[in-house]
């Protein structure tokens, strides 16, 4: 699997995701600077976490208009899979590649902690290594992860199985007390219509090392490698 990671001014978790991709695929991803109008041929494009443009104005708003994003949209339209983690998810919603929006956490505070996620859909190239309903433990680290969408969009996503992950308790129940940011329906990650684009707030890449954070996030990278070789 050849992956390209797009880096923006203010990205700060690109190394984390590069390591995870490399560990899973055995290949070093290429890192593409946001100002570049071309993304080299690849099987997967990744938008990493961080604070592109300082999260000023709105998280992801400015990055969504960079030259590399134009190219990303073109490739995504051709079916090249796209993964956006945290700030990457925010950029994808701002760019219109995923529905809804990510608002300030309901607590109004940045939150960094381990959370439990329930895998809602294992029929996708991002999640096929997990069982449907499986609970995994990965960290979140964000200030604007409060997902919202209008009722029709939500209904459509729920009906079509486009919710990828939900925040749950360790034993797999949704509970307002374990929702770290107030997201509607406890949504942690979503697919686009064709399930070729995934955006999620948590950081599976920081759970791909037995010595640092555990291995629960590795399934996502393994899924991608299995699906894309």
């Amino acid at each position: 699997m050849r992956a390209a990671v797009v880096s923006f001014p203010g990205s700060n978790r690109e190394r984390d995701i590069v390591m995870a991709l490399e560990r899973a695929s055995g290949k070093k991803p290429v890192v593409v600077w946001h100002g570049e109008a071309e993304i080299p041929d690849c099987d997967l494009i990744v938008l990493p976490g961080g604070f592109s443009y300082g999260d000023y104005l709105r998280a992801g708003a400015m990055a969504a208009h960079s030259p590399a994003m134009k190219e990303l949209k073109r490739k995504a339209a051709q079916g090249v899979p796209v993964l956006g983690v945290c700030n990457g998810f925010q950029i994808l919603t701002e760019a219109g590649l995923l529905p809804g929006a990510l608002m300030r956490n309901a607590s109004l505070k940045f939150v960094c902690r381990q959370v439990h996620l329930r895998v809602e859909e294992s029929q996708s190239l991002f999640t096929n290594a997990y069982e449907k309903g499986q609970v995994i433990r990965v960290p979140v680290a964000h200030a604007d992860g409060n997902y919202t969408a209008d009722p029709e969009t939500l209904k459509h996503m729920e009906d079509r199985g486009l919710v990828a992950f939900r925040y749950v308790t360790a034993d797999g129940r949704t509970d307002p007390a374990t929702n770290p940011n107030g997201s509607i329906h406890a949504i942690a990650g979503i697919f686009n219509e064709t399930k070729t684009v995934l955006g999620l707030m948590p950081h599976p890449e920081d759970a791909t090392d037995p010595d640092a954070g555990g291995m629960d996030g590795f399934g996502m990278f393994k899924s991608l490698v299995d699906a894309l070789h």
């Binding site: 001014p9 203010g10 700060n12 978790r13 190394r15 984390d16 390591m19 976490g49 961080g50 604070f51 443009y53 300082g54 999260d55 000023y56 505070k109 940045f110 939150v111 960094c112 902690r113 960290p139 680290a141 200030a143 950081h203 890449e205 920081d206 791909t208 090392d209 010595d211 640092a212 954070g213």
Partner: protein, 729 residues
């Protein structure tokens, strides 16, 4: 030279210079200074920049050792950690600004210390913070906690450096003067450490980073003056941090450092362009000529005085090799930052600054720096306190006392704070907040750095020398408890007004104790910071010499945490317990008595006990380890139980030690370890001459004290985790 503004006595006084200091200035200048020149003397001779009250004492610290690559005197210190790498670190205070504007004050404090570290060519890998707030019931405290924590998080999270450890205490002595000390640890190539000495007359001086505004003019002198109600009302222009620009500046500087372009580099911290240019010139024994018309500004009509004294953030000053200007321009353009050629290194030994073609400043650098006032201020030693016998302290059921202690502001969990700090970015944080020391991996090696900040002000006020020793020893112990070899420290001396002999006595005592401990433990001081005048209306803070310690693990998987993870393990206490309750948390928070001499520190025992613990951890004989500090044995067991989710059954207190002293005494140099079997630990302890004793066994779900009751971990967790979120909501 511009026509002189009238320099009256009042103007001199406003600039914080005494009559004697001004007389010295006149002697150096041999004429009346311009206002801008006066401003420069004023900031350079402020306590903050010149260390005039503390310098003679700082000289007594041990600053060298086989691993020290850079001791105090540069932007940050550096130690060799093998593999051609160096750990670069320093701590810095932003106390006054954080009291005035907690969010921006704390945020710019983090920004400043990050710059100190990456100026040296190091990539920051972790931040720490030591916080002291007033009484929780004081009307300002909550607002200050919320702003400071948000500010530290806001800056560190955005720039993407994990904030991995810290300490947070509350005490009424900080009601009018909170302490916000921030520390950064970075990694550099040992053979590529950048310094700030200007070299090579003719080399160009470049200004890079953000534009200059009228931010924090006179911040450095403010940090050197005592607070009054009035100064709070005046509200000087506070600096606003821009972590996004700092992230770009960090990446651009590191990119430029990888080229062969830089002669010297210095961040613009307190006193901005003034201290950076003066220090660069002074260290190189040269002069610098600046043309202020070329300085990127974001406001109109700025005077030379304002530009030289502005404390706008996220700026750096560089001296580059001939012809390297274009490399710098290209790199800074890529990162969309200003890069301006504002001057040249000269042979004159003078700082010469012009604006609109007129020379407004012409100061001989050497005397400005070398003849800066230096005071050996009079001091009186703190009165000795009586020893309090444990037998004379009120007896409370230990389980009941534990319940109360675990929910006090100082002992309660600080999760509410570190939840707001990204402590994971980089995915190298092996030990997260909540343990004895944080552990962060060194990329591309098997190594890791352990790091911690600590100070126990109630010991320092009770006996400055012992308190100073204890602060050093406790960091050493915390590093040891995670299996690391302690290497060196940085320190932040936070005190009241040094012009008062009793405060000066605290400074002298603490420094003496710290020096002695550093010597005994081969644990040199490689950088630090001093913050004086932390007092309001004559009410000084407790002496708070915060110590930041860094240690090395050769194999990161060999570290242990504090969590008890399995029932049936032996709990072994290493070190001697006499049951010392003087100046303890138990005495203060349970007996309501803030008194007594602090526990003595026996540095030979520290070393012996610590070396044993570290060896046992390396040999894999220890499964969990926690040093005993505030609250003694029982609080330590409770913290270990909560951290791992497994409880313990503890034996009754031994005969000959009053129960309160056994459970809550704060005798030093002690560790509690969990092991599959006690035998090898006891044998090794005997061989090493370390007192050791089995105190109990791990057991699921609750803490049970033989003969005096039990508490479930759920209840204990509720108490421990409940206080801070409850207080802040």
């Amino acid at each position: 030279m511009i026509p002189n503004a009238k320099i009256t006595d009042a103007v001199v006084k406003e600039h914080g210079l005494t009559a004697d200091e001004y007389a010295l200035l006149l002697k150096i200048m041999d004429r009346e200074p311009t206002l801008a020149e006066l401003g420069i003397f004023s900031v350079m001779w402020s306590e903050h920049c010149s260390y005039k009250s503390s310098r003679v004492w700082l000289k007594t610290f041990p600053v060298s050792g086989p691993k020290v690559l850079q001791g105090p005197g540069e932007n940050a210190g550096a130690v060799d950690i093998g593999d051609g790498l160096a750990a670069v670190f320093k701590i810095e205070s932003h106390n006054h600004p954080s009291f005035i504007e907690p969010y921006q004050g704390a945020a710019t404090g983090v920004g400043g210390i990050l710059r100190d570290v990456f100026t040296m060519g190091a990539r920051p890998i972790a931040n720490l913070n030591a916080l002291r707030f007033g009484d929780p019931s004081h009307p300002k405290t909550k607002h200050l906690v919320s702003g400071v924590v948000a500010g530290i998080g806001g800056y560190g999270n955005c720039i993407g450096v994990p904030t991995v450890a810290g300490e947070t205490n509350f005490h009424p002595s900080y009601n009018g003067n909170i302490l916000v000390n921030a520390m950064t640890v970075g990694l550099a190539r040992a053979d590529r450490i950048f310094k700030a000495a200007a070299r090579g007359p003719g080399n160009r001086v470049l200004y890079v980073g953000a534009k200059t505004g009228r931010d924090g003019i006179h911040g450095a002198t403010m940090a050197s003056a005592e607070f009054t109600e009035e100064s709070e009302a005046k509200r000087p222009t506070v600096q606003v941090g821009d972590p996004f620009t700092e992230k770009l500046l960090l990446e651009a500087c590191l990119e430029l450092m990888a080229e062969d372009a830089i002669v010297a580099i210095q961040d613009m911290g307190a006193a901005g362009l003034t201290s950076s240019s003066v220090e660069m010139a002074a260290r190189g024994g040269l002069g610098i000529e600046l043309d202020l018309d070329r300085v990127p500004v974001r406001e109109t009509g700025m005077t030379a005085y304002e530009i030289m004294l502005s404390e706008s953030q996220e700026r750096m000053l560089l001296v580059v090799k001939p012809g390297a200007e274009t490399i710098a321009e290209r790199i800074f353009a890529k990162w969309e930052l200003d890069c301006a050629d504002i001057g040249v290194v000269t042979e004159t030994g003078h700082l010469v600054v012009s604006k609109n073609g007129v020379v407004e400043i012409d100061i001989p650098v050497a005397p400005l720096v070398d003849q800066a006032p230096l005071y050996r201020r009079p001091y009186v030693a703190s009165p000795k306190r009586v020893e309090i016998k444990a037998a004379n302290v009120k007896v409370v059921d230990p389980v009941h006392a534990l319940k109360r202690l675990m929910g006090t502001p100082d002992q309660a969990s600080k999760r509410w704070i570190w939840d707001q700090y990204d402590h994971l970015v980089g995915n190298d944080t092996i030990q997260t907040p909540g343990g004895d020391a944080a552990v962060v991996r060194v990329r591309d090696t098997r190594k890791a750095l352990a790091m911690v900040v600590d100070c126990t002000p109630r010991y320092c006020v009770a006996d400055p020398k012992t308190g100073g020793m204890q602060a050093v020893a406790e960091t050493w112990r915390n590093l040891t408890a995670v299996g690391a070899e302690p290497i060196a420290i940085t320190d932040n001396l936070n005190f009241g007004n040094p012009e008062r002999p009793e405060i000066m006595g605290q400074i002298v005592g603490c420094v003496e104790g710290m020096s002695e401990a550093c010597r005994a433990l081969d644990y040199p001081v490689i950088s630090g910071n001093v913050s004086l005048y932390n007092e309001t209306n004559g009410q000084a803070i407790m002496p708070t010499p915060v110590v930041g310690g860094v240690g090395l693990l050769d194999e990161y998987t060999k570290t242990v945490g504090i969590g008890l993870r399995q029932p049936g393990q032996a709990l072994v206490l290493l070190g001697e317990t006499k049951g010392w309750l003087g100046a303890s948390i138990y005495l203060r928070d349970i007996a309501g008595w803030e008194e007594g001499a602090p526990p003595p520190v026996d540095l030979a025992a520290e070393r012996r006990n610590g070396d044993l613990v570290r060896r046992l951890i390396r040999e894999g004989k220890v499964l969990a380890c926690h040093d005993l500090s505030d609250g003694g044995l029982l609080v330590a067991v409770a913290e270990m139980a909560l951290a791992g989710g497994v409880g313990a059954r503890l034996d009754a207190s031994p005969a000959g030690i009053p129960a309160a002293g056994w459970w809550f005494g704060e005798d030093q140099a002690r560790y509690l370890v969990a092991a599959a079997s006690a035998e090898p630990i006891l044998a090794a302890a005997t061989a090493a001459g370390v007192p050791a004793r089995v105190v109990g066994t791990t057991e699921a779900d609750s803490l049970t004290l033989a003969g005096s009751g039990a508490i479930s971990l759920d209840e204990l967790r509720g108490i421990h985790e409940g206080w801070l979120p409850g207080y802040m909501s």
